[in-house]
Amino acid sequence: MALIWDGIVTAFSLVFGGDAEVWSITWLSLKVSGLATTISLVVGIPLGILLAMTRFPGRSLAVALVNTGMGLPPVVVGLFVSIFLWRSGPLGFLDLIYSPAAMVIAQVVIAFPIVAGLTLTSFQTLNPNLGLQLLGIGASKPQLLWLLCKEARLPLLAAVMAGFGGVISEVGASMMVGGNIRGQTRVLTTATVLESGKGNFDIAIALGLILLALSFAVNFLLTHIQQREQIRWPKPS
């Protein structure tokens, strides 16, 4: 118990004491995972909508691939992104290995199938005739997509939460493609692994708690937006 208590005390002193390194690690975690989630939304939402609203040969295979991608092990993603970005790899000329950009790429690979898969599911829960009805009162194609996204906003927010949750908490890919370089690619998860490996459990607990708090804060914000429109079930009589 003393270990946990020490960790909590250390966490408070690191955060509120203004420890520059902890703040820079936290900020980098937020930047990398925030950017990766944003890119995943930009790629994943249109892909999910496309899979939900169109029929083409090979669609079932594409859906199966997206669903498989929703459970990709981060270390496997880290391995393949590393191979591609390795100096002698196909994309080695970009010189991105062990950089925050490499971590963003790996996290996008992890998060975009989650976003695409959940978008697909959320659009499939909409009434298939709703799109036709919206066109029937004069919606243009972009207006139609916007209205359908608005209508599916509750499950879409769940997709955002799942995407962000998936990448802020992953460690394998960030470690492999980022290298956990102090001041450059060290994020909360990789720093926690490092500190616990060194036996600095108080710092590891502190970093873990910051990670939890960060994850909670983002999810709380999104949940608050989502639940403002929660369906009120009737009370049983």
């Binding site: 709703l130 029937g136 009162i137 209205l147």
Partner: protein, 365 residues
Amino acid sequence: MAETLLSLRDIAVRHGEVTVLRLSRLDVERGEILAIIGPNGAGKSTLLRVMGMLQQPSAGIIHFRGEEVGRDNALLMRRRTASVFQEPLLLNASVYENAALGLKLRGLGRAEIRERLHPWLERLRISNLASRRVRTLSGGELQRTSLTRALALDPELLLLDEPFSALDPPTRESLLIDLREILNQTGVTTVFVTHDRHEAFMLGSRIGVLREGRLLQVGPGLEVFTRPLDESVAEIVGADTRIPALVESSANGVARVRFDGGVAEAMGAFNAGARVILCLRPEDIILSRETGAPRDAERPNRLRVKVLKIIPSTLHYRLALQCRGSQLSALITRSAFMNLGVNVGDDLIASFNPAAVHIIPIRKQ
């Protein structure tokens, strides 16, 4: 002469190998209410989607106000129409937001939307529900919201796809009466598809009959209901008595036809010896007890029948009748049924006016 608002020429809609709609020609005149009736799967909704430019036909040309509809101008043309579907497909928002949606999509400002929407919310009797979320509404209120959304657009062409079929009878009746008044007052050109003959007859200034993707007949409601062009139309419009018959003679605009069960006189000129179908609407058959001499029963348009089946409903009784080898169907009011005191197996006299008899010539294959 009325202006043609929408014209369809040589339209075909195919789903794979199956042609679900084939239409050589159909014009919708400005100001008319065209009701399309047909059984489930007849292609009614497909036709409405094609008319609303919501579905590209596999072949054919559509003109709206004389202008050919193509991919380039489809949105512009669609914005001159408004569609209402069987389900009130509304967004998860308030009644007002839903009703205002079409106007908002056209880029109108808040004040103008409010000004245009308010009278329609009043007219459809939902202004008191404006701030309610649509999830809390009844089926009738939802469909009123959907109709408000369409009517507020002041469309040149209103397309209604069975908008009442999911409603309970009293709600349907009240909404139908309101809609009839609105359509008559506004004069908005409307195409209304339904499988309900009563709704079609009540709303339509013209009625089209669709079956298996083909338009079998289009014309004024009374004409289509009393003078169906073929047996399929007769079945769809409810001419339940359809008996094969032979023209014995035809003179002075009156034809005498013989069938298994008796002789009927009908208005019209037909070739003697021609094989025909004798059609009667159930409400045109008058039932009585035999009172005169038995010979009287054998006059034309007066048949001796036996009651096979009695099907009661709130307003009418439907009776299945046997007349030797032929079967007839009659619809009588509850009071007439009570006065006659009919039971299954009773012998009755079925009579009908020559003007009520419709003769369909059998086309040689």
